[in-house]
Structures are given as structure tokens and as C-alpha cells.
């Protein structure tokens, strides 16, 4: 299944990178350095990491409003991401997009998305382009439990199945669409059950177990690359923080939060890698220090970068 020690360390490193990035963003947002909305991925790192470990630069992803983890996992540059969050000219989008619109077309990142359910048709379209050209590239559509109830998701899944498009729909079921619990927003226990309606495989996986996610994603990606069509993977996970930074989270019980924090994907994977002697306490320390250093450099880059010139407001509305 292609999971050697090096790959596992790289997956671990990616998860820690997302966690530390998001924790730094939370601090900077609280300090008033980042305007607008930020939706953090803390607690869900295993999903993006496990799925993107099976992708290459020519594969596509569509992301969500909670997109930082997907972008980092697909190779996004944290310096350019941080500068964008600050609204700086040097950011991924020249300060025009912000947290919800970071994209890197060169890496196949077709954008975070401010519209819940905005991504699935786009992912199907990118998959169509891959199929049309006769490549074995795929598109991965990350979407939440909230988006699973949007009409666009149904339309994209149906058409993807009719046309056997190489797309993998990766549902991140973190139990809440803002405050609305899945117990109220859907009448089945598992979103994966809906795959039957499209005659595609639907698999539920522990979204806090990065190896389990990697394994089911590998199967789905293999199927997509072989021209056998789309799949749906439902990753059961949880966001440790609120929907957005500043969310008082009155809608979920503290015991539930604690229960899920005990299933935190990062200590879980770290413990396993230490037990298997793939990691040592010393390498863990060095990995974390190295990431912290990169993030400090990213924050410094963002802080020191120039703001956009107001004269740039009309740039890039149209291609010329």
C-alpha cells in the first residue's frame, strides 16, 4: 500500500504543520492581525493529510471555507497563505481573496470556497477535464456534512457517476453545520449511505485515523485513475474549535468536545509512530521545531509584506 516509514513521517509532519499553522492563525486573529472570517481545521488534520498523500501536483482538489488544511496538504506554501490571510499584496491572491478563497492552480488547488456546496460541481468539471484529455489524473472534492445536503452535491455526484468521472468525494463529517447538528440536518446516520443512490462505493472511515483515511482514499483514487468512476468517503471527525474564530460554541456540550479531543488524530498517530520506533521523541521535537521556524518565517513575511495598492482594485476582474 506504499506506506513506508518516510511516507508516514511525512504525513505526521503535515498534520503537525496544519495544527501549528492553525494555532498560530488563531492567535493572530485574536490579536487583530487577520481581518474577516477564519474557519480552522484543528482536529480534522488526518482527513486532508490521508487523502492528499495519494495525490500528485497534476491532480485537482476543491476545498471549502475550512480550507487551510487541504491547501497545506496539497503543497500550498504557508508563507503565501499567511500573507494572504493578512490581506497582503504578496499573498496567494494578492490580498483579493483571503482565507476562504486561497487557490494555487499550479498545484491543482482550485480554491477554498465561501459557498457551502460550491465545490462539488467544480471538482466534477476538473475530473471531466482529466478524463477528456485521457490522463489518469483525478479530482478530490472535500466537502462538509453541511454541503452534503446541498443540491449541487447531489447533481455533481449523479453526473460524475453517469459519466464515470475520476472524482473522489471526501466528506468531512464534523457533526455540525455551524450550530445545526447532523442529528437534525439528516435522517440517515451515515452520509456514505447516499452513495448507493449513485451506484458508487460509499465508505465510512474514522477521520481521526490518518492511516485508515489513507487506505480508503488509496482504494478510491485507484478506482478513479483506472476509469471506474467516482467514490464517496465519509470521514467521521470533529472540529476542536468553533465554526469560526469567535464562535462561543453554545450548541455543543463540553463533554462531547472533550470526548473528541481525546481522539485527537495527532497524538494518536504520534503515539503509534513512537511505538513502532518510526519516530523517536527527539525526531518529534526536531519536526516540531522545524515547522515552528517555518511558520515564524511565514508570519514575519506576512507582517513585513506591503499591503495592496488601492489602485490595484480593478486588476484581474477580467482576463485580457
Amino acid at each position: 500500500m506504499g506506506l513506508n516509514n518516510e511516507k508516514m513521517i511525512s504525513m505526521y509532519t503535515n498534520m503537525v504543520k496544519i495544527r501549528l499553522f492553525e494555532e498560530r492563525v488563531a492567535e493572530l486573529f485574536a490579536a487583530g492581525k487577520i481581518p474577516g472570517f477564519v474557519h480552522l481545521y484543528v482536529g480534522e488534520e488526518a482527513v486532508a493529510t490521508g487523502v492528499c498523500a495519494g495525490l500528485n501536483d497534476k491532480d485537482y482538489i476543491t476545498s471549502t471555507h475550512r480550507g487551510h488544511g487541504h491547501l497545506i496538504s496539497k503543497g500550498g506554501d504557508v508563507k503565501l497563505m499567511m500573507a494572504e490571510l493578512f490581506g497582503k499584496k504578496t499573498g496567494y491572491c494578492k490580498g483579493k481573496g483571503g482565507s476562504m478563497h486561497i487557490a494555487d492552480m499550479d498545484l491543482g488547488i482550485m480554491g477554498a470556497n465561501g459557498i457551502v456546496g460550491g465545490g462539488p460541481p467544480l471538482a466534477a468539471g476538473a475530473a471531466l477535464a482529466a478524463q477528456y484529455r485521457g490522463t489518469d489524473n483525478v479530482a478530490v472534492c472535500f466537502f462538509g456534512d453541511g454541503a452534503s445536503n446541498q443540491g449541487t452535491t447531489h447533481e455533481a455526484m449523479n453526473l460524475a457517476s453517469c459519466w464515470k468521472l475520476p472524482v473522489v468525494f471526501v466528506n468531512e463529517n464534523n457533526l455540525y453545520g455551524i450550530s445545526c447538528c447532523t442529528s437534525k440536518s439528516m435522517c440517515v446516520a451515515d452520509i456514505a449511505d447516499r452513495a448507493a443512490a449513485y451506484d458508487m462505493p460509499g465508505v465510512v472511515v474514522d477521520g481521526n485515523d490518518v492511516i485508515a483515511v489513507y487506505e480508503v482514499a488509496t482504494e478510491a483514487l485507484k478506482r478513479a485513475r483506472a476509469g471506474e468512476g467516482p467514490s464517496l468517503i465519509e470521514c467521521k471527525t470533529y472540529r476542536h474549535r468553533g465554526h469560526f474564530e469567535g464562535d462561543p460554541c453554545v450548541y455543543r456540550p463540553e463533554e462531547e468536545v472533550e470526548e473528541w479531543k481525546a481522539k485527537d488524530p495527532i497524538p494518536r498517530f504520534e503515539k503509534k509512530l513512537l511505538e513502532l520506533k518510526i519516530l523517536t521523541p527527539d525526531t518529534v521535537k526536531r519536526i516540531r521545531e522545524s515547522i515552528a521556524k517555518d511558520l515564524a518565517a511565514a508570519v514575519q513575511f506576512a507582517e513585513e509584506s506591503p499591503l495592496p495598492d488601492p489602485k490595484e482594485i480593478l486588476d484581474d476582474v477580467y482576463s485580457v
Binding site: G97, M105, G111, G118, G125
Partner: protein, 325 residues
């Protein structure tokens, strides 16, 4: 020059662009064997096959959205919605995704897609199959909005739209599909953003779109018999709007009547009138008038539908009013 109807002019533009560029494909409901709701894509499936002429389920969000995704990934889709009235169920993919991706992503995306839709009243298709909604699209930065009135313009504008690197909304008035006209053979490009003076005149300017161009020309001929010499301009592209050509005409005639089939309230004519008032107020010798549909859904019964669509008489009355006759 060969003669063909509006529908076949569009068909030819599609065929030529598909022959030229393998990345161009057609997608929509019944565009294949059925040949499209109005026959516009007939024959293309036989020539290009199912890969490039893609019949879909009834799934407008996915038709538009997959076109956006495929365009972002480098293809050049030409998507069709049978009626512009159906855009509501797919709108997010057009105005929040296609139109904004380039800007939101700091310029590093392009969405070279065309969304063709029939529009307009005149066949008794009632309130959900007869609307003109061009102002909706004009209001969205990032979209281009094209609305031809003749077979030649339809061909030339569509070829230009397919080659454009932006999402283009291409509106085809269904009453024009059977209209015959001369169409240049082979490659024929009408640049987007260029208005066309359909009739030269001196006493008043009519700016009209789609089917209203023909009613305005008919009104102009009748007015000429009464000694009123009207200029008729078709913007052809509503966004970007060729303000220079419109202003030049108004500065010459000093009078402006705008004719469109959309409802008058907040229609495309409101923007044109405001633009002229801002840029050429001192040249105007009369208030700007608009002849447009009343603020009501399109009615079914033919007598009501004809009351809804701006008539030649109403256009003539407006021109007479601005010239003081």
C-alpha cells in the same frame, strides 16, 4: 455571401470552433441526438461524437458547474441551458464561482467558457420560459454579456466568445432563431465590446437589443416616411458596454430612446440611460426615454404577451416625443 438563419449561424460557429480547437466541447440538456431544444446543435453529435457533444440529465447546476471546473482546468466548454429562465437553479456556479475565480485567486485562474441560453417572449411560452434577464448578468463583475440580433452577429460574436478567456453569457432571443440573413463564410469574428450602428440617422438615437433591434429598425423606416431620421445602435455586447459608440451617437443626435424586452425597472436600459446622463448630459435636448416591458411576469395569452413586448407603435411614439413631434 451565403444566407442562413440565426440558428444555423450559431451552429456554424460551434462547428468551426470545434474543428479548430479540440478543447472546445458542448454540454447541455438534449444537445446531442435531439439537436438542442431549438435545433441549434443539430448535426454536431454526428460530426464530433459523444465526448464533445455531451447530453446531460436535467441538472443545470452541474451543467454550469462542471463547465466552470473544466474551464478552470483548461478546456473551453460551451454550455447550453435551454432557457435563460433556468439560470436561477444554477446561478451560484455562474456568479459566485465562474465570475469571481480569477479575481479571488489573484489573477491566477482563467475561466474560458460560454453559457448559451435562449431568452425572450413571443411564442406563448409564459412566465418561466420567456424572460429577458440580461441586466442580472450585467450586474456581475467578471462576466461578459453578449446578445446578438442578426445571424452574422450571432456567428461572429459566438466565435469571439468561445475564444475569449472569460465566462461569457451568450443570450439568444428565441424569436430570432428563424431569422434569415447573410453570414460571412469561414472564420468570422465580431469582437466583444463593439456596438454596431444598424442604421445611420441624425434626429434621434435608438439603442436596442436582440429582437428589439428589428422592431426599432421597422419604427425607424416608418418615421423616415414622416421625415424623422433615426439612428439605430445595437450594443451587441452589454458587458463590456461600448459606451464610446453610444455617446458619439447621442452627441450627434442629442436624443436617446432605449428599447429592450426586459422589464423597464432596473433593466439594462437604466444603466445605459444613467451612463449617458453622466457622460453627455449637456448634449441632450430631451429626456432619455425607455421603451421596455411592464413590471410584470411574462403573461401567457397571446394578446397579453403582445401587450407585454414593446411594439413598433410604442417605439415610434417615444421617438416622436423626444424629437418634439
Amino acid at each position: 455571401m451565403p444566407t442562413m438563419n440565426f440558428s444555423m449561424a450559431i451552429n456554424e460557429a460551434l462547428r468551426l470552433e470545434m474543428e479548430r480547437d479540440p478543447n472546445v466541447y458542448i454540454v447541455g440538456e438534449d444537445v446531442g441526438a435531439f439537436g438542442g431544444c431549438f435545433g441549434v446543435t443539430s448535426g454536431l453529435l454526428a460530426q464530433f461524437g459523444e465526448k464533445r457533444v455531451r447530453d446531460t440529465p436535467i441538472t443545470e447546476s452541474a451543467i454550469v458547474g462542471t463547465a466552470v471546473g473544466a474551464a478552470a482546468a483548461g478546456l473551453r466548454p460551451v454550455a447550453e441551458l435551454m432557457f435563460v429562465d433556468f439560470i436561477g437553479v444554477a446561478l451560484d456556479q455562474l456568479y459566485n464561482q465562474a465570475a469571481k475565480m480569477k479575481y479571488m485567486f489573484g489573477g491566477k485562474a482563467k475561466i474560458p467558457m460560454v453559457l448559451r441560453m435562449s431568452c425572450g417572449a413571443g411564442i406563448g411560452a409564459a412566465a418561466q420560459h420567456s424572460q429577458c434577464l440580461e441586466a442580472w448578468f450585467m450586474h456581475v463583475p467578471g462576466l461578459k454579456v453578449v446578445m446578438p440580433s442578426t445571424p452574422a452577429d450571432a456567428k461572429g460574436l459566438l466565435m469571439a466568445s468561445i475564444r475569449d478567456d472569460n465566462p461569457v453569457v451568450f443570450l439568444e432571443h428565441k424569436i430570432l432563431y428563424g431569422l434569415e440573413g447573410e453570414v460571412p463564410a469561414g472564420e468570422y469574428i465580431v469582437p466583444l465590446g463593439k456596438a454596431d450602428v444598424k442604421r445611420i440617422g441624425t434626429d434621434a438615437t435608438i439603442v436596442a437589443t436582440a429582437a428589439m433591434v428589428h422592431r426599432s429598425l421597422e419604427a425607424a423606416e416608418k418615421l423616415a416616411a414622416e421625415g424623422i431620421n433615426v439612428e439605430v445602435i445595437d450594443p451587441r455586447t452589454l458587458s463590456p458596454l461600448d459606451t464610446a459608440t453610444l455617446l458619439e451617437s447621442v452627441r450627434k443626435t442629442h436624443r436617446l430612446v432605449i428599447v429592450h424586452e426586459e422589464v423597464k425597472f432596473a433593466g439594462s436600459g437604466a444603466e445605459i440611460a444613467a451612463m449617458v446622463a453622466e457622460e453627455a448630459f449637456d448634449f441632450l435636448d430631451a429626456p432619455i426615454l425607455r421603451v421596455a416591458a411592464p413590471f410584470t411576469p411574462v403573461p401567457f395569452s397571446l394578446v397579453l404577451e403582445q401587450e407585454y413586448i414593446p411594439s413598433v407603435d410604442k417605439i415610434m411614439a417615444a421617438v416622436k416625443k423626444v424629437v418634439g413631434r
